[in-house]
Assembly symmetry: C2
Homo-oligomer: 188 residues x 2
DNA sequence: CTCTATGTATACCGATCTGTTTACCTTGGA
DNA sequence: TCCAAGGTAAACAGATCGGTATACATAGAG
């Protein structure tokens, strides 16, 4: 049976390359070269490149949401404060040297059809982030947690686009200021 | 000298294909086939595919901003109302059958480096849209037109991402409701 | 020691990519 | 009528694509 560490190695390198250069622009040859693995090994773990892309997106989803949850829970202990702390997490993320936007927005751009598996997985990721926000909003005792989570999520997406397309990293602070209005409105 | 109508034909077909399938995934062979033009003709008008991509993005920018301005000015005569009408334009756009997100967000996803010409052109497009919003905010007599235009623009980007990645077309209405708060705040 | 599993390295497949070249056609103007 | 401009169709070049196959190395278990 295939060694799990090889598989992980491949996914990790694919993650970096897909995120930096895009999915279509990254060939499997580049991935195996960086992973130090033969092509046969790659195709023993993944039937096609598309399957590798899906595995990569799943790992990215797991890593990203863990990072988001850890960061916000480290910054703030009260759920209501965590709703704001999400935007501090964004600010840090935007300033990472290899920031290249949201990988799932990028994936949806390259796999435009709504029924494409990679596109669907991207939508699922966004839904899971919104679920986390909703959960925190509930814990905070917001009047309408669902509506609030959608508002905050929409602000996050806007900030990410601003930061990536226009290179304006202050968008995290702007979105944070905007978010405060919607949070406060839930607790008057 | 090359006939202008041929060039236009090529750009128009490239626009459709790039928007629908992405830039890397669309080959020049598909473009010339759809345009009914020989490869030599394409390369007499554009030195490389990248140059064609840039010309395509320039045309998209022109078409999109004209459509945005016409639609908002048709819907509302007062500048302050136009700021809200932008989100009605978004709603209509999201419901077009060939809606595939914002072509410039998609371009920035495929050409991730900030100094890539296509990425820079995408940033410029976003800046020009923000300029239009700022102009309308000024005409409306907003207290801080620059800040308001950034807020509205960020809401627009968020709504677009929501609509494309998650397929949630109601995001235009949600963003509109959110926008009202920031607009009203400028005129108390 | 030997067999088997797992891996590497590499050649190869057919398709497709961007871009060039060749040969031929059509059309308008002097 | 003839010529040049601008076009088409198609072959071609060289690289790269995703994916397969072959040959060989290595290491652990019996």
């Amino acid at each position: 049976m295939p060694s799990p560490s090889k598989r992980e190695l491949i996914v990790d390198e694919a993650l970096k390359l897909f995120y930096r250069h895009g999915f279509h622009a990254t060939g499997v040859d580049a991935i195996i070269a960086r992973a130090g693995v033969s092509k046969k090994t790659l195709y023993s773990h993944f039937r096609t490149k598309d399957e590798l892309i899906l595995a990569t997106l799943r790992k990215r989803d797991e890593l990203f949401r863990n990072k988001l949850m850890r960061a916000t829970e480290r910054r703030a202990s009260e759920p209501r404060d965590r709703l704001l702390a999400v935007f501090d997490f964004l600010a840090d993320w935007f300033h990472e040297k290899d920031f290249n936007g949201c990988m799932f927005i990028n994936a949806a751009a390259e796999f435009a059809e709504q029924d494409n598996p990679s596109h669907m997985l991207s939508a699922e990721h966004k839904r899971l982030v919104a679920d986390y926000l909703c959960e925190q909003a509930e814990l905070a005792g917001a009047r309408d947690p669902v509506a609030l989570s959608h508002e905050l999520n929409l602000l996050m997406e806007g900030a990410i686009v601003y930061a990536h397309v226009m290179g304006d990293k202050r968008s995290a602070e702007r979105a944070r200021d905007m978010a405060r209005m919607f949070i406060d409105r839930q607790f008057d």
